[in-house]
């Protein structure tokens, strides 16, 4: 029984079909990677799943219940949380309050929410920054904040959008370990990633997109050797036997 099921999702913008008939399932506890060159439709897919866009065709279901057509805040309350590729911290709020906002979706008590926020900050390694304003954080720290904030909503499925993009090489391993730990703790993850080394190491399954369609869906080894995937990234002249 899949936790998250994407079935035939199609999204058009004027003359462009950003997502075409995208279908795949995510089982509970799975870490699925989404890869594809620029313009493949990965972010659009995330927007469709999280409720920011409504697909023209197809459905998204969580635990069998329809998510398509719900507003983003509703989708979150049902159990999908996400991070953004272009980080969006609440700059004028403290780091703690940023996370508390997420926690307040599950609890009505502000004090309780703040306690939960502290715990989450500890988990992502941002405890010392709790009272700093979010705008003072470095990119790597912002990524952790975004993660903690999303986790505060106690999601069933967490959508991570390019978590290693824009950070220097030294910060990546720490972030990757964080993702691994979350996964080990039982969280179901859907991860958009450009860094092939990272995603093949972490994901149990990879779904490859190209020009809005799914071109491969399988374990990292299989997908990495898939001819269509290689062509998509490198072009037809480069395909290897």
């Amino acid at each position: 029984m899949s936790l998250l099921s994407v079935a035939g999702v199609t999204k058009r913008f004027g003359g462009i079909t950003a997502n075409r008939g995208i279908s795949f399932d995510v089982a509970p506890g799975e870490l699925v990677g989404i890869i594809g060159p620029n313009g493949a439709g990965k972010s659009t897919l995330f927007e469709c799943i999280s409720g920011f866009y409504h697909p023209d065709e197809g459905e998204v279901r969580l635990d069998g219940r329809r998510l398509t057509g719900l507003s983003p805040d509703n989708v979150c309350r049902r159990g999908i949380a996400r991070t953004f590729q272009k980080l969006r911290p609440f700059s004028g709020l403290t780091v703690l309050d940023n996370v508390a906002v997420g926690a307040l979706t599950r609890t009505k008590d502000v004090r309780h929410a703040r306690e939960q926020a502290r715990e989450l900050l500890a988990r992502v390694g941002l405890s010392e920054k709790a009272d700093a304003y979010a705008r003072t954080l470095s990119t790597g720290q912002r990524k952790r904040l975004e993660l903690a904030r999303a986790l505060a909503t106690q999601p069933r499925v967490l959508l991570l959008d390019e978590v290693t993009a824009g950070v220097d090489q030294r910060t990546i391993p720490g972030l990757v370990q964080l993702v691994r730990d979350l996964h080990a703790g039982g969280l179901t993850l859907l991860v958009i990633e450009h860094n092939m080394r990272v995603i093949t190491a972490v994901a149990q399954r990879i779904v490859a997109l190209y020009l809005g369609e799914v071109i491969a869906d399988g374990t990292p080894d299989v997908v990495a050797r898939d001819r269509k995937v290689i062509e998509a990234y490198l072009g037809q002249a480069y395909h290897q036997p």
């Binding site: 609440f90 004028g92 999303a150």
Partner: protein, 316 residues
Amino acid sequence: MKAIAPALVFFALAGLVPLVVRDPFLLDSLILILLWGAAGAAWNIAGGYAGQVSLGHSMFFGLGAYAAALAGTRWGLSPWIGVLVGAAAATATGFIIGYLSNRLRGPYFVLATIAFSQVLLIGASRWRGFTAGSEGIPVPFRAGFWTLGIADKRIWVWIILALAVLVWLVELYLERSRRGYQLAAVREDEDAALSLGVPARQLKVAAIAVSAALTAVCGALWAQYVGFVDPVYVFSVDISIRFALAAILGGLGTALGPFLGSVLVTTVETYLRAQFGGIGAGFVGIYLILYGVALIVMVRFAPQGIVGWVGARLRP
């Protein structure tokens, strides 16, 4: 407790003044400071806390003023009923404006609020059958508490002070409560807030509706106090700007800010009126020039307002 101490001191002082001061001119100034402060604080709920800047809040003020005036003149009802009716009408209008705030962002929304207030202005000025047209409505003075016919300015100070504290408490709630946190998130980044499960659309509408109702109450009490409702003044863009100005000068999105801003704005205005009022109506415009310049300077150099400026200096 520490954070609200300055506000408590402010309100306590305001409450004590009538016990010591008899001069009606000074009491009148205090009443106006508190009233414009309350209206500015009401605006602050939508503009500061929810981040929905409107320059048409005079529509709510005017609705309240007219409700109180009409209750008294047309139907012989207690103006307190007028306060309730005005608040109800304003809330309904607030829901419409709230709906617009979800469809329009930025400058479009500001323009829409201005247009709305102008429609009400023209309507009130022309609809002679109902509102006595552009001559305005004199509010009848009938002595007694339930008719809000109070000659003693000291009592007025306390009535308006009660209103001011009420609005301040609402602001405080917005700072401390769960909804307040969520609203702050919406203000910072609406989409990010949505992704975290914050019901942004509904919160914005609610904030605007509450802001509208409180502004209308200010309008209704103002009408009773001043004794005359002139549509061109009461629905003017100038008044809408005045609410925003008090909040911005004092500190947008802070609870005490609008009251401090009002102290500044009202005292300058009263002083200038007193100084130059006799010379010619033209000079009265000087304080408005100062407002304009103050607005330009404040948003550029001290967007946090007085409260922010002082706060930054007090913080270690």
